[in-house]
Amino acid sequence: MEEFFQQLTNGLAVGSIYALIALGYTMVYGVLKLINFAHGDLFTIGAYLGMTLLASFALHETIGPFLGLIVLALMVMGLVAILGAIVERTAYRPLRESPRLSAVVSALGASIFLQNAVMLIYGARFQVYPEDLIPETSIDLFGLYIPVVRILVLFVSLALMAALFIFIQKTRIGTAIRAAAIDQDAARLMGIDVNRVILLVFLIGPALGGAAGLLVGLQYGQINFTMGWTYGMKAFTAAILGGIGNIPGAMLGGLILGVIEALGSAYISIAWKDAIAFFVLILILIVRPTGLLGERVADKI
């Protein structure tokens, strides 16, 4: 039973990272109906930027580990957000009115570009995060020993998701984003600057993805330039699982996927770990073709 709870908490931590990345996919899809294949690579860049900033500023030593990590996370999120906006400007905006599959090829091109840029800058080998950042102790929780870093990951990502949820649901700008996702033309008629909404989405999504990259670096200590593909695909699967375009759906999908994957690789087979997510996806899509929380879209005639 203890093994089960260990895997469960581990799955929730990984799942919350998937959920953070999935939010970027689902928000972009919501307003542009575009699969942003470069999103996984923005996540990778977040992880690498975190490592570089840690090494060059050593904030955790000068202003304390807690404040240091917060400042670090904000810096990473800001930088990745700017990069996300640049990608939107260069690779997606010129293709806004063109066939959708053309934009997909452009997105794949952007992904290849970013991935290889990371490889050229940092090298193809695994890079290691500094080790002494977070104490390697475990917290005793009802007789269950959970590593501090796992709790940190879960807490930070849930906090970010809650903040996003409130932002989208309660603020005027959030309402504008939801409106643009439902009907761009109608939103424009209501005086919403859709271009700014799209830009905003391309700032928020990559910022969350960058934060997820930093969290992965902190949790596993090892990063590689190809990891954006694995995490990106799992996160995209999570977004589809929850119903793409649906923000709570992405959060739910990510958590479910993380838990199923952790339990599956523990109790079924570790060799099939990366295939489990896709099996679950296919099964769910057969039963619910629009995902768990996706709404049925009526065909327009």
């Binding site: 053309s102 997909v104 090829v105 290889n116 060799a271």
Partner: protein, 319 residues
């Protein structure tokens, strides 16, 4: 106009027919790869270009064909060229089984499912499913193809084998494009609801075109296995699917000359960029974005269908 393009195609054909005489084996092999990707691109073009189905896992069907050929050839010694229909059958069957429950899904859902199927298959191959796929090392010792007792082994010999296969593919797919089937599939892509309203069973046509494209990729897999004599799961990863997909969209989806040009660019360009070494793929990715922005419909897009106006005397009796 029609005559002019005939001259151009005739000229290209004549140049390609004698090309191996003037090229060294390395470049002939590059041309072989172009040919193989052109066949794969054309088969995917049926699915993505003509039916508008979002398939980013085409390498899976290519893999099924290649592994069918490899397993049957190494275990039972059946000549690889005899296995062409068997490979088409297994790849088509595999596509039919997986596509049947998902073909009605919205475009982007289909995309992730096809990616997922490709990944599941690759992982299954690495994990040595049923103990016959050879695990991560793959299968080696596939025999060379023989045509009337003549063994094909050098690059320029493969050049003519692949070339023949490509010509047959172009001819058949061109006929298919202009058939009732081709028109129906295009109609489904343009407006599924209207097509249904005109009595076209959209799911049926989508499934048929998906299976046909997959079966063709299976045959390409057979040729690939015979050419390499060794196949491994990593030859069929997501990147291969991306290349095939980009060949179709970038070349011009739904257009045979476009897809052929796309194959030349995608296999040829990395060879030209070879001098950039590590930065090769960086430039490649940037080139994909730039080309897509410059030619949003692809380099040679599908031309609208044109029909001759019926003569005034037999108006209404147009076949």
């Amino acid at each position: 106009m029609k005559d002019k393009s005939m001259y151009i195609y005739g000229g290209i054909f004549a140049v390609l027919a004698v090309a191996p005489v003037f090229l060294n084996p390395y470049w002939v092999d590059v041309l072989n790869n172009v040919g193989l990707y052109a066949i794969l691109g054309l088969s995917l073009n049926l699915i993505v270009g003509h039916a508008g189905l979002f398939n980013l896992g085409h390498a899976a069907f290519f893999a099924v064909g290649a592994y069918t050929a490899a397993i049957l050839n190494t275990l039972y010694g059946i000549p690889v060229l005899w296995l062409l229909p068997v490979c088409a059958l297994t790849a088509g069957l595999f596509a039919g089984i997986i596509a049947r429950p998902i073909i009605h899904l919205r475009g982007d859902y289909l995309c992730i499912v096809t990616i997922g199927v490709g990944e599941i298959l690759r992982i299954a191959l690495i994990n040595d499913l049923f103990g016959i796929t050879g695990g991560p090392n793959g299968i080696f010792g596939i025999s060379r193809p023989t045509v009337f007792g003549y063994v094909i082994r050098k690059p320029h010999e493969f050049y003519y084998l692949i070339g023949t296969f490509l010509m047959v593919t172009i001819f058949l797919f061109h006929r298919l494009e202009n058939s009732r089937f081709g028109r129906a599939v295009n109609y489904v892509r343009e407006d599924e609801t209207a097509a249904e309203g005109s009595g076209i069973n959209a799911s049926h046509y989508k499934l048929a075109v998906f299976v046909l494209g997959a079966a063709w990729a299976g045959m390409a897999g057979d040729i690939f296995a015979a050419k390499m004599t060794i196949i491994a799961p990593e030859s069929f990863n997501f990147w291969e699917s991306v290349v095939m997909f980009a060949i179709v969209i970038l070349g011009g989806s739904g257009s045979i000359p476009g897809v052929l040009l796309g194959a030349v660019l995608f296999v040829g360009l990395p060879e030209v960029f070879r001098d950039f070494a590590d930065a090769r793929m960086l430039i490649f990715g940037a080139a994909m974005v730039v080309m897509m922005i410059v030619r949003t419909e692809g380099i040679l897009p599908q031309r609208p269908r044109t029909y001759a106006l019926p003569e005034a005397s037999n108006a209404g009796g147009n076949p």
